[in-house]
């Protein structure tokens, strides 16, 4: 007993020991955090701010993010098509609308929040374009919305409206596939969709619809986007389904309410 007591008195910690321990702990965590954030701060601007990402950077990004399905050499796998000849325009369309990278296999790739910066998308596009050239970005004039909206409307009704709806509201296809609405689509993505034919959309190359005709169609769609519906509430521009539902519920509902009021005895 006595010996033990001595030993304990010998090993008694200083009253400052606990405080010192906490202090050291705080210092270490703080230091590591500061160092880490400094490292982050040092690396992050490098990737975002350097506007000159090259096709080599695009290759690395591709191999890290896309190669699982499209193959290390862009040759395609059972899960994804080969990208030879799709062109940087297709890459830009698929990635800037968030369709790629694909979240899961399904009937159709949905639009999602965009996963990459514009520079990264451009770099991947340059890499794909460098392997096998394909459709590329158009002249700015094609996208300026300065074409003939009436001509564009006729071309849209002949070539596009059967799937995308005459007001660009989109529509259903078979087995879970659908044509998306065009209410917020950018002019570049309208052009890219026509030229590259993403997913089940047919290709409309410059021989099918000339560049001038594409400009007219883009003008028509921008007109639809910028002008409110002249016919009042559009109810989604979906035609008889939404309009019929509205009148069944509110029109017939108010008729029933008025009939009940007419026949009820006054108090």
């Amino acid at each position: 007993m006595v010996r033990e007591t001595t030993r304990r008195s010998k090993g008694r910690r200083s009253p400052w020991a606990a405080a010192a321990l906490i202090g050291i702990g705080l210092l270490i965590t703080g230091g590591v955090y500061a160092g880490a954030s400094a490292a982050m701060a040092a690396t992050t601007p490098e990737t975002t701010a350097s506007s000159a990402l090259t096709a080599d950077d695009g290759k690395k990004l591709f191999q890290a993010n896309c190669a699982t399905c499209h193959g290390l050499n862009v040759q395609g796998t059972a899960d994804g098509p080969s990208l030879y000849g799709v062109g940087e325009l297709a890459v830009h369309f698929q990635m800037s609308t968030g369709r790629m990278p694909l979240q899961m296999q399904g009937p159709q790739a949905p639009q999602k929040p965009v996963q990459f910066t514009d520079e990264q998308i451009t770099a991947i596009g340059e890499y794909i374009q460098s392997i096998a050239p394909g459709p590329t970005f158009p002249e700015d004039e094609v996208l300026d919305g300065g074409g003939n909206a009436a001509e564009g409307g006729e071309l849209f009704r002949i070539n596009c409206a059967m799937c995308h709806n005459v007001a660009g509201a989109g529509g259903a296809l078979t087995e879970g596939k659908y044509a998306p609405n065009l209410h917020t689509t950018t002019p570049l993505n309208m052009y890219a969709a026509m030229v590259t034919g993403p997913q089940n959309m047919p290709v409309f190359n410059d021989m099918t619809l000339t560049t001038e005709e594409k400009r007219d169609i883009i003008t028509y769609l921008l007109y639809l986007q910028d002008n409110e519906s002249a016919g009042g509430f559009s109810l989604g521009s979906l035609g008889p389904v939404s309009e019929g539902l509205f009148i069944w519920i509110f029109g017939i509902g108010s008729l029933i309410a008025i009939t009940v009021w007419i026949t009820a005895k006054s108090n």
Partner: protein, 359 residues
Amino acid sequence: MAHEDDPLEHERASWKPSPGLAVAVSDPVSNPGLPPHRARVTDKDPAAMQRAVRTVYTLFYLSIAGSIWAVAAYMLFPIESGRIIDIRNNNLFIGLGIAFALLAIGLGAIHWSKAVMSDKEFVEPRHATRGRDTTREAAIQAFADANEESGFGRRVMIRNSLIAAVVASVVPGVVLFRGLAPFNSPDNPHAGDPVYLLEHTMWKKGMRLAHDPSGEPIRAADLTLGSAVHVIPEELATVSHSDGYLEEKAKALVLLVRLLPEQLTESEERKDWSYNGIVAYSKVCTHVGCPVALYEQQTHHLLCPCHQSQFDVTDHAKVIFGPAARPLPQLPITVDADGYLVAQSDFTEPVGPSFWERH
């Protein structure tokens, strides 16, 4: 008005329940009579009556205001600019004024009758459906007398010639309506022959396939894989609307699609109907004639938007889903010396939905 005590009395004697439906009920439901009279607030409280009267005439005055507003809106929102938004505002505000004016009259009238007018219940018995026997006999006698006095049944020549004259008076109408139908002429030898018209389209041997609506001919080399082109006969672009542009277009519409040649399944007799994987099918659905144009370039299915018929473009456009009864007719195509796509002939079967003479 002389009310009878029991207006149904003479009917009860002749009415016998059907032996098949008659059910003997030991405790038949007794007539509950009228519910007790409940006085309205407006009957009990003169102030409430005043309020109701005020509400009614206020509604009528508001209706006048609505009518005046409609006239004012007609002047305030002119449509002379022709801008569609001005026309919309004009319609909207005039319509609101008129709707409010009529609705306020209706609401006021109903409120008047419910809250202000007399509130006494009274019973109004139903009148008998069957007339009294004396009335019925008198009616028959009136017909018999009229026949006797006019000699309608006796003077057969007069009666029959009248019937013939009435029938003949309809004939000019029938002839005039028949004259409205199209008829054959040297210029248009088949105009009065609907079966011929349904069986033939504008396509013929050597006619170029052209873009809708520009009429630009299509070179086979210009079609990329996955393209879908909406096609009309080249000569249709020069036809004016008054010369039947839409009638011809409705039959001759074609969808042109390019696939890989090895994706196509082709029967022996149709081997030469396509060109390097380019196939042309009628765009008119064989169900009820909607334009089948929803082409999915990866599955190569064509979907009809009206009733969801699906056609497989790789396999003679056969029906794979939906109510369509027949595959879409295929237009045999080839290329001419300049590389443009041309038809080898008209469609080999009638396009579009079934009709009486089509078996």
